[in-house]
């Protein structure tokens, strides 16, 4: 090799190997499996065991983050009973290998970065900057008062206006946020849940002022109240009341806003709250089935609305388990929608999902390490076949991200897309003995959980009894204890920790937002037709009292008359009451 050319050994080696790859027998034939089994036993006895006896392995019980026990290595024998029809082909049922025939060879995932802070003016400037940089998918974050449905001048909003996102107290604020942005040319994702219907009405009202017809509006509101009760806990009313409004929104949008994704079924927050990958998978899909049933109960046909349901998952540090989770999610959704809910349209069966890298995995310590964590997590999301991706910034354990940090987060995605070559092949890890085994293991565990949730009386009951919340709290305690006991390590936290002084500069949010927002709100209240607003709020109240009426129509009227977010949400509180979570500890 060092000097000679024309070595016949290499020539015949190359020829023979190529021929062999073409003509070999099946890896999974009974004979091949028998041979592997025999070889494996011998290998375990003569090679592996003596090796481990000489030097013990680092971990006593290697397992995935969900606690699935792991063998040291996987073989065809671990997947020998797999029926390949259960894997199938990209772009066809059961979509294990991807929802589109050629995946990223055709179109990359959407790089959708979530932003929003301060006043509507601040956010309008940021959105326009993103549009100038070529983004077409906007994604807006709201502050805590907006998420909980309080106006900016409510006592509970004090100190929180504009802090974690932009504040919206009335239609006027939405007009400012989208001022000069043509709503028929962009798609807008709004991360809003309890008041999602109100924000949808506001968006529609802005569009009307721009003379854009409702059917051409594209975007997503999260609206996933089930996961709010399970994990993120931004609610106002009891679960049934929120679900009724979700139902009204589903029906309204199916009829009037056909391109509006009115529910984004979210595992992200379930995972961030401390669940395992198995729980994220099982609870999210169970929520998804819940919305399918909600739509069907409202008289919609499954193929009429299931294509509008999309998903939102977390991607965190256990690389292979995350990839397996995404793949298993697609397969379960397709199978159950077809078998149980009799969906026929491929668009109902294929699960589209957005992914965000895990905020909880980011460390406060040595924050620059978070760039690496986010890169690995986004790599897993891409290998798992995501349709869009938000990458967190390295400074987010500290504060909202600086522009510099956001840029690195976006570049991380671009490097994966442009430099690594992973986009050339669909589902490039498909067929890995380990990954296929793990995908099946997660699917199996998910079915077991569905059964447990069903035994607990279904999702709604399981929320009201606190079962799902306690399952998550228990897992999160287990994880924390494993770190505390050194069974799992976090670099810079319980291993390789160092003392550091102010490692990074962080974003400061000035507190002028609250004052400005309150001024604008008071002006709105002074200038609007008060009598009309009161009458429309009363109309909404009466609709809420009749379960067979759709509340979106009167809500839309109230929004257009500049009834405020807080006023509209309060109407519901008077009718439905407030939610108090069951005792969890």
């Amino acid at each position: 090799m060092l000097r000679s050319g024309r070595d016949s050994y290499w020539r015949s080696k190359a020829r023979d190997y190529a021929a062999k790859r073409k003509n070999r027998g099946s890896l999974y034939s009974p004979r091949a499996i028998r041979d592997i089994q025999k070889g494996l036993e011998q290998w375990r006895r003569e090679v592996y065991k003596p090796w481990v006896e000489r030097a013990p392995e680092q971990k006593a019980d290697p397992q995935t983050a969900s606690g699935i026990q792991l063998k040291p290595v996987f073989f065809p024998t671990d997947v020998k009973e797999q029926d390949y029809s259960d894997s199938g082909f990209p772009g066809v049922f059961p979509y294990l290998r991807g929802v589109y025939p050629n995946m990223y060879r055709g179109r990359l995932w959407t790089m959708r970065m979530f932003s929003g802070f301060g006043t509507p003016e601040d956010t309008n400037r940021r959105l326009k900057l993103l549009l100038d940089q070529g983004e077409t998918g906007l994604s807006v974050a709201f502050d805590m008062p907006t998420l909980y449905g309080y106006d900016c001048d409510h006592p509970k909003a004090h100190g929180e206006v504009g802090r974690c996102g932009v504040n919206v107290s009335s239609l006027k604020d939405m007009q400012v946020i989208f001022n000069g942005i043509p709503l028929d040319k962009v798609s807008t994702s709004m991360t809003i849940n309890a008041p999602a219907a109100v924000l949808t009405c506001m968006y529609a009202a802005v569009a009307e002022k721009q003379k854009i017809p409702l059917p051409s509006l594209k975007g997503t509101v999260q609206t996933d109240m089930l996961k709010e009760f399970i994990a993120q806990k931004e609610w106002v009313y009891p679960p049934e009341a929120h679900l009724r409004i979700v139902r009204d929104l589903m029906v309204y949008c199916t009829r009037n806003m056909p391109q509006w994704n009115y529910v984004s079924i979210s595992g992200y927050h379930i995972r961030e709250a401390g669940s395992s990958a198995v729980q994220e998978l099982a609870f999210t899909l169970a929520d998804g089935f819940g919305y399918v049933e909600l739509g069907m109960e409202a008289g919609l046909k499954v193929d009429e609305f299931a294509p509008r349901l999309s998903f939102f998952f977390n991607s965190t540090m256990d690389f292979f388990e995350e990839i397996a989770k995404f793949r298993a999610a697609r397969r379960i959704w397709a199978k159950v929608l077809r078998e149980r809910y009799k969906a026929r349209s491929p668009r109902s069966l294929l699960m589209r999902f957005h992914t965000q890298t895990s905020g909880a995995s980011l460390t406060w310590q040595q924050p620059l390490n978070n760039i690496v964590r986010t890169a690995l997590e986004s790599f897993a999301a891409v290998l798992g076949g995501t349709q869009s991706l938000h990458t967190n910034s390295y400074d987010e354990a500290w504060a909202l991200p600086t522009e510099k940090a956001v840029e690195i987060a976006l570049r991380t995605q671009q490097i994966i897309a442009e430099e690594t070559g992973v986009t050339n092949v669909v589902d490039p890890l498909g067929g890995s003995y380990y990954l296929e085994w793990l995908t099946e293991s997660l699917e199996e565990e998910a079915y077991k959980y569905f059964d447990r949730i069903d035994s607990a009386g279904g999702i709604l009951k399981a929320i009201k009894s606190g079962y799902l919340q306690r399952e998550i709290a228990e897992n999160s305690y287990r994880l924390s204890q494993r770190v505390e006991d050194g069974l799992e390590n976090v670099v810079g936290v319980n291993k390789y920790a160092v003392q550091e002084e102010r490692p990074i500069e962080t974003l400061k949010i000035d507190s002028k937002a609250q004052k400005r927002q309150i001024e604008r709100l008071r002006k709105i209240r002074r200038e609007r037709d008060e009598v009309k607003v009161r009458a429309l709020l009363e109309k909404l109240r009466r609709t809420y009292e009749r379960d067979d009426r759709n509340s979106i129509y009167p809500m839309m009227e109230a929004v257009k008359a500049y009834a405020t977010l807080g006023e509209i949400v309060d109407v519901g509180t008077k009718v439905f009451g407030q939610w108090k979570e069951p005792v969890l500890i």
Partner: protein
């Protein structure tokens, strides 16, 4: 880690005394992962834990602390509102007869904010990734020094 919180030596009445601690998130913040984990860790460390549930106002937190006669109030916020909510709980405690109740806090608290909180007597101010042991030891030390002085 030492798991018992008994006060050694001294009078027999305090020998089995447990630290009573109220844990709360006084604000519009549903991120309860940390506080639920800590509540369990406090309980495993032998404390009596009272959790307010989500979304209490600072008034409700202070009132519960006084009504429950706790030794410690442990506050957690991840939404950036700690500079308004933590001092408010502290001031309300003082006004409602809970001047001696120890207040500790945690969450995402920038270094610049810490001196003001410390000056008010709100200590700990732990960030993400802090070990249970460190937090529990801090609480035990303050309780021994400030609440149970003279009992050992």
């Amino acid at each position: 880690m030492e798991l018992e919180t008994s006060v050694k030596a001294g009078s027999s009445t305090t020998a089995k005394r447990k630290i009573r601690i109220l844990v709360a998130k006084p604000g519009l913040d549903g991120h309860d992962r940390g506080i639920l984990v800590l509540a369990r860790a406090f309980r495993d460390a032998g404390m009596e834990v009272i959790y307010t549930g989500l979304l209490p106002t600072p008034e409700q937190v202070a009132q519960a602390a006084v009504d429950e006669d706790v030794d410690v109030v442990a506050l957690s916020l991840l939404n950036g509102a700690h500079m308004t909510a933590f001092p408010r709980v502290k001031r309300l405690l003082e006004r409602r007869g809970g001047k001696d109740i120890i207040v500790v806090g945690g969450g995402i608290i920038p270094d610049d904010d810490k001196p003001k909180l410390l000056k008010m007597g709100i200590t700990g101010l732990y960030g993400p990734g802090t070990s249970f042991e460190e937090i529990i030891n801090h609480i035990k030390q303050r309780v021994k020094k400030e609440r149970w002085k003279g009992s050992n």
